[in-house]
């Protein structure tokens, strides 16, 4: 049987929209069966899209969808390269309609589009189910949405029924690759080692360039050629579930054992039990070998039976977040930044806990409680930016904080410049596990 190649066109919502075309050109040049995946949903992305859909029921899918698919849709349809993406977000049907319109605009024949449904548990029935599993933690008044992580088999079913584009909402990221692999090799739901191998290939591709030289460069230590033009990855999946990772031709970046190992362990907890809806993968005996320039083989992944539950993330209104910054430079800059911090603490600290950062001394390594900042000795830093951040139930209180920050222009220490303030709605989340038979997934053709 011919080997399947799967390319990745995006690794998050907001990824480069010119990344997919070189991947598709490479898949076409290499020949053989191929598919293209787009991963567009981080943990928070979906909840934000749910809020957008509430305001406008025709939206709620990936906002860059047209820009993502525009450059590659014609080539993919012409060369039978199915596109699989979770760009449906909170509105898979809306995304499907958007793709139909795009095809029409480009003068293409109407593509056969499938949507995978069932992940959205925001309905009354879904809400009741989630409530049962979150027990007392479920706050009805603040509930925004809940979505289950679906698996690969519905994607495979859609492809086996001839889908040229498969639109999903929440699915486990690696399932976007495993779906086409199952459809191609006709693996069964208990081919654990094969499912696990292709799941790890999907894991390697799900963050786009993170396996092919992105998020890796460290000048003088880990050099990456042509980072400004980093190529997106391609995985060749073999019938035994092993894979070879490479990248789009004529691009920058690199694929070597170091890039693959970093991404293999990315967001992993126990490497003997990487749990997805499809399988439990074990990489403790896995082998990573460079077999050619920009070609790395991953083999030896073991699989165990999938769990009886699916992971569900529920989102709740979390009040408001606000932050602001002001900079000080030159002689005694640090002392002036620290004085501004004291002013803010005295004027706003009684409303809510404030987080302070002295950017240039201590910022992202610190903790919200401020213990690291407290232990940061006074230096003579001459370019310091104070940052203040807080969360509160009330928008009015957050707005007051931002006003107080802005007032440092004229009422704070000398020489402050570059005030910026921002606020946003917060979403808090809770996770639970729900028996998979209670969350049936379905495939519909548009």
């Amino acid at each position: 049987m011919q080997t399947l190649a799967v390319g990745c066109g995006a690794g998050f919502s907001g990824d480069r929209v010119d990344a997919a075309l070189p991947v598709v050109k490479t898949l076409i040049a290499r020949g053989g069966p191929a598919a293209l995946m787009f991963e567009n949903l981080a943990e928070r992305t979906l909840a934000h899209q749910q809020l957008i859909r509430r305001a406008n029921p025709s939206l709620g899918y990936e906002p860059l969808l047209e820009l993502e698919l525009g450059p590659i849709l014609a080539d993919c349809l012409a060369h039978s390269i199915p596109i699989i993406g979770n760009f449906g977000a909170a509105n898979p049907q809306g995304a499907a309609l958007c793709i139909l319109k795009l095809a029409e605009k480009l003068g293409l024949p109407k593509p056969r589009i499938a949507v995978v449904l069932g992940d959205d548990l925001s309905t009354q029935q879904g809400r009741t189910l989630v409530k049962q599993h979150l027990h007392g933690a479920f706050d009805e008044a603040r509930f925004v949405c809940a979505n289950a992580y679906l698996g690969a088999f519905e994607i495979a079913k859609a492809l086996q029924q001839g889908a040229q584009v498969v639109v999903t909402g929440r699915v486990a990221d690696p399932s976007l690759l495993l779906g086409p692999a199952i459809a191609h090799y006709q693996w069964s739901a208990t081919d654990w080692d094969k499912l696990a191998g292709a799941t790890m290939a999907g894991h390697l591709l799900e963050c786009g360039a993170q396996v092919s030289g992105g998020y890796f460069a460290d000048p003088g230590k880990k050099e990456v050629p042509g980072l400004e033009d980093v190529g997106f990855p391609i995985a060749e999946i073999f019938e035994d579930g092993s894979c070879v990772i490479s990248k789009a031709d004529h691009t920058g970046g690199l694929v070597d054992c170091r890039t693959v190992k970093e991404q293999l362990l990315y967001e992993m907890h126990d490497p003997a039990a990487y749990i997805t809806p499809d399988v439990v993968a074990d990489i403790t005996q896995a082998k990573v070998e460079q077999i050619g320039p920009d070609r790395v083989r991953l083999s030896g992944v073991k699989g165990h039976a999938r769990t009886s539950t699916l992971k569900v993330l529920a989102y709740f209104d979390g009040g408001w977040f606000g932050e602001g910054e002001i900079s000080y430079a030159g002689p005694n800059a640090e002392a002036r930044a620290r004085l501004a911090m004291q002013v803010m603490q005295k004027r706003m600290g009684h409303h809510m806990p404030l987080r302070f950062d002295l950017i240039g001394l201590t910022s992202i390594l610190g903790d919200d409680g401020g213990s690291m900042l407290t232990n940061t000795p006074v230096t003579r830093a001459s370019d310091v930016r104070l940052r203040v951040a807080a969360k509160h139930e009330s928008l009015a209180t957050i707005e007051l904080l931002l006003q107080e920050l802005t007032a440092l222009w004229t009422g704070g220490p000398a020489g402050g410049g570059g005030v910026r303030v921002a606020k946003r709605q917060r979403l808090s989340n809770l996770a639970c596990l729900i028996p998979r038979e209670k969350i049936p997934a379905t495939v519909h053709f548009v």
């Binding site: 362990l265 126990d270 082998k287 977040f321 987080r355 409680g369």
Partner: protein, 105 residues
């Protein structure tokens, strides 16, 4: 014995899930892996991240690929949705780990 930063011997990447961070630590050279196993213990990593008050640090070894994976529980001030940190994912923590001193014979 030479005191050097872990940065000289290994590379790392952080990922987040909820309020927990994982940090991979990968030896550049297979022959350095044993030294990492000896010296980069969960206890030392917990102390190194003391300001973040991890409730538990677990270490998983992957000798086949010369790597280990640390899971630091409850170090993200609530994680991406709750933290007030500019780096709410804790993505920069990997390079803080690489600051850990180790001794090379």
């Amino acid at each position: 014995m030479n005191n050097i930063a872990l940065y000289e011997l290994a590379h790392a990447r952080t990922g987040d899930k909820g309020n927990h961070a994982n940090i991979s630590l990968i030896a550049y050279k297979p022959e350095d892996f044993a030294l990492l196993v000896d010296q980069v213990t969960p206890e030392r990593v917990a102390a190194h991240f003391g300001a973040r008050r991890p409730s538990e640090v677990r270490r998983y070894l992957l000798p086949n690929i010369g790597a280990m994976n640390f899971v630091l529980d409850n170090v993200l001030d609530g994680g991406v949705n709750d933290s007030l940190n500019l780096d709410m994912h804790g993505k920069s923590l990997s390079f803080h780990l690489l600051n850990l001193p180790v001794q090379r014979p």
